[in-house]
């Protein structure tokens, strides 16, 4: 039913897969949301969206962007139209994420122990052992439950046929989960009429689950483990998230100088003196953890921390050295890695990937530059990417030169026509491209937070959803089985 004032009247998603208007959803649930949005109307959507953004600013739910001169607190722009995942889709994604996490952990255990996968020739040894994120300190080091990646974020996109594919694994210190929960709270406050009666999976359980996992992985002999969250501090761009997680877990948020190591034991400085610490959920990268082992100039870390860890007196989550598993070049081998360890096909396929460090991959990439997306293997945040079909001749030339100068720093992938969802813009509701980052917590077992962070590229036609590059986010609804 469209009337002239229907906000969907001029909505045209073209050849892309639209998450909201291309299907009815479980028992018409998606349809119902669409109707309710129409009923609210464009003006009210705008008023309420503005109110929601004010809320975020006042609450200081921000990330920090550093320019040359100053630090600016920005909100992650919030788009008020939810992204909806059906119950069946979620079962599929959840199974795929769990499988992937199992494979990532098996892979890490193997490369730091027996290296069966290298001997079997499944993945080139040089790619693993020569990787900048490979940590010799981890060799033959026992890890409880074989869990290296306790917190994992897997970036998933959907192509024009609606197929979910993995674009990237984040096995180091993935961020964004706080927005999942905050977006839901914001949505409940701002759009109760849109949500009324919708049967959705709740997202409030994350902190409790995380705390339980952090307790599980504490050194075995400790009965009542003290858990802390280690943050680089208030100037870190993800500080809000660190606060959020510490609060949701009910554990202290500490900075490096709050901790100290004596006789291979970790303590925190409290008003009643030193108190032992047993599990550290660290949001500091490997390099900065311990100046006596890694970067000597790190002021963020704790001298002696790695020693205490190796002595078995403290657990770090995620483990050190997981970066080798989420490397973009290693990513290309993930389907084979899954098959090797689990004897299964990947439930969520990879995006086809060409490894420029290999001669065939490089040749193919150079020959098809203008139709491929070229990505540096070590970067995150959407930096350094060249999108062939949209690049100028000069940009393509620059990419070609960079590829030839250091082929192993690059991979290439075909341009994926990411799915879209209606998004509120100055010109009304318009299709904008999305991805999805589900979060998995693994202690003894793996649990996946229903939904995850939906990021949306707010610029027309843009495929880059990263917050540092003009991305926003949406509340992600997973419909419960009816």
């Amino acid at each position: 039913m469209t009337s002239p004032s229907d906000p969907f009247a001029s909505y045209d998603f073209g050849a892309y897969f639209c998450e909201l208007t291309a299907r009815d959803g479980d028992g018409g649930a998606i349809n119902r949301v669409r109707d309710r949005v129409s009923k609210i109307g464009l003006d009210a959507l705008r008023t309420r969206a503005a109110g929601a953004e004010d809320d975020l600013i006042n609450l200081g739910i921000t990330f920090t962007v550093y320019s040359e001169a100053e630090a600016i607190d920005r909100i992650l722009p919030f788009d008020c139209l939810p992204r909806i995942i059906t119950a069946a889709e979620w079962r599929h994604i959840e199974a795929g994420v769990k499988q992937r996490v199992r494979a990532l952990n098996a892979f890490l255990h193997d490369i730091y122990h027996d290296r069966r996968i290298l001997r079997a020739g499944i993945i080139p040894a040089a790619l693993v052992l020569g990787n900048a994120n490979y940590r010799p300190e981890m060799e033959n080091f026992p890890i409880r439950f074989g869990t290296y990646v306790h917190i994992c974020g897997i970036d998933i996109v959907r192509d024009r046929h609606g197929t979910f594919c993995v674009l990237e694994d984040n096995a180091r210190t993935p961020s964004g989960v706080s927005y999942v929960v905050e977006n839901r709270h914001l949505m409940r406050r701002t759009f109760p009429d849109l949500m009324a009666g919708m049967r959705l999976h709740p997202v409030d359980d994350y902190g409790r689950r995380l705390r339980a996992a952090m307790g599980d992985i504490a050194p075995e002999k400790v009965l009542d483990p003290q858990i802390v969250l280690l943050s680089p501090g208030i100037y870190n761009s993800a500080y809000f998230e660190h606060v959020f997680l510490a609060r949701e877990m009910g554990v202290p948020l500490v900075e490096g100088p709050d901790l100290l190591v004596e006789a291979d034991r970790v303590f925190m400085r409290t008003t009643s003196g030193l108190r032992p610490v047993h599990t550290i959920y660290r949001r500091i990268s490997d390099d900065f953890l311990d100046p006596t082992v890694f970067r000597a100039d790190s002021l963020l870390g704790v001298p002696g921390l790695i020693g205490a860890w190796r002595a078995g007196n403290v657990t770090l989550a995620n483990a050190v050295g997981t970066g080798v598993a989420d490397d973009k070049a290693v990513y290309a081998y993930m389907p084979r890695i899954i098959r090797f360890y689990l004897g299964e096909d990947a439930i969520l396929p990879n995006v086809e990937t060409h490894i420029c460090g290999e001669p065939e991959g490089l040749a193919f990439t150079l020959a098809n530059l203008s139709s491929l997306v070229i990505k540096p293997v070590g970067e995150s945040g959407g930096y350094g990417i060249t999108i062939g079909p949209r690049a100028s001749t000069a940009e393509l030339d620059a990419a070609r030169a960079a590829l030839q100068a250091d082929p192993s720093n690059w991979i290439s992938q075909p341009l994926i026509d990411l799915s879209v969802a209606p998004t509120l813009t100055a010109g009304g509701l318009r299709p904008r491209h999305l991805d999805l980052r589900p979060f998995a917590i693994t202690g003894r077992d793996t649990w996946v937070l229903p939904g995850g962070l939906t990021r949306v590229a707010l610029k027309e036609g843009s495929l880059i959803v990263n917050s540092s590059q003009g991305g926003g986010s949406k509340d992600t609804w997973v419909l419960a089985d009816s």
Partner: protein, 336 residues
């Protein structure tokens, strides 16, 4: 895994952050009071003198002149209300309070953080326009209200574990310190000789001091028949019920230290408790008239120094970064 855990620990850094956040906020509220009273009760023709007193009691004269300020009302108002590079200014204090609040976000309530965040934005937007004419009083009222909103939200939402005790210690020590400064601002009035001059001063200037401390009405209740300067001094130093009197602040400091000791078993409170005894002894050893006679200004100076030492003992015993070494020789108060 069940329910409530038996003991809560407090990071030394959090105790420190709470203590300082409370101090900065108390400081802003008092500065707003001082500015307001200076504006309202400046004697016609002697405005420069009135505003200079503000610099004197905050011991900011040197820095003010070094920063190239001109000693007139305009320059001094800007110094305290607009100049972010002046660390004793309202915007610098609010910036510092918010930075502490940011550090404390895992601990303080969302409502406390939100109010601080919004208030910070308002303070950063104070314009030169608001320092002129009748705008200034309204600005001061807004500053006071913002800080009182903080205080109220804290009262109603902040979890009362040991963190709250450290927060209160910061507030009360700063408040006591500010009361000494408020008394000091009009100390030159104590030496007026002419009867008529004194009477006028007592009516207007001392009334102004009492109003700045929000104590005028309470004072009238305890001194309904009329008053002398010494009565005001006694009231601000020693009244047992007035929230800004040094005596009441110090007893509350003592109560919070005792709480830390008995409820949380924090042994480091001993030195600070001893300092309290000294402050209290000094307060009771001289009558206001004696103090005025022998030099109230010096006494207030000593009191400020002792409050500093008290804060230092707390820092040394419990904080992570601000831990002044305890002085080897304890200074005694009011013995000069």
């Amino acid at each position: 895994m069940s329910g409530i855990s038996k003991d809560t620990v407090l990071l030394a850094r959090y105790a420190e952050g709470l203590f300082w956040m409370a101090r900065y906020i108390e400081r802003v509220e008092n500065l707003a009071r001082l500015i307001d009273v200076t504006q309202t009760f400046e004697s016609p023709g002697r405005e420069d003198e009135a505003w200079s007193a503000l610099l004197r009691i905050n011991a900011d004269e040197e820095r003010f002149l070094a920063a190239g300020g001109t000693l007139d009302p305009e320059g001094i108002k800007r110094f305290y209300l607009l100049d972010r590079s002046n660390h004793t200014s309202v915007p610098a204090s609010i910036e510092a309070a918010r930075t502490n609040a940011r550090t404390l976000r895992p601990l303080i309530s969302t409502e406390m953080w939100m109010q601080m965040n919004v208030f910070h934005r308002d303070v950063m937007a104070i314009s030169a326009d608001e320092l002129t004419g009748d705008h200034l009083t309204r600005l001061c009222a807004r500053l006071k209200e913002g800080m009182q909103a903080h205080t109220g939200i804290t009262e109603g939402t902040f979890f009362r574990d040991q963190g709250w005790n450290f927060y209160m210690l910061g507030r009360l020590i700063e408040r006591a310190d500010q009361t000494t400064r408020l008394l000091d601002i009009k100390y030159h009035l104590l030496h007026l000789q002419g009867i008529e001059e004194r009477r006028l001063a007592e009516l207007t200037q001392w009334g102004g001091v009492l109003r700045a401390a929000a104590g005028y009405h309470a004072f009238r209740r305890v001194a309904p028949a009329g008053f002398e300067a010494a009565d005001v001094v006694t009231f601000l130093l020693s009244d047992r019920s007035f929230p800004r009197s040094i005596t009441l602040c110090v007893s509350q400091v003592e109560w919070h230290l005792m709480q830390l000791r008995s409820r949380y078993n924090l042994r480091g409170t001993v030195a600070a408790l001893e300092r309290i005894e000294e402050v209290r002894a000094a307060l009771s050893s001289n009558s206001a008239n004696q103090l005025i006679e022998s030099g109230l200004h010096d006494f207030l100076d000593c009191l400020q120094r002792d409050l500093n030492l008290l804060a230092g003992e707390i820092g040394y015993a419990f904080f992570r970064d601000w831990r002044p070494e305890p002085p080897s020789q304890k200074q005694s108060l009011g013995a000069s």
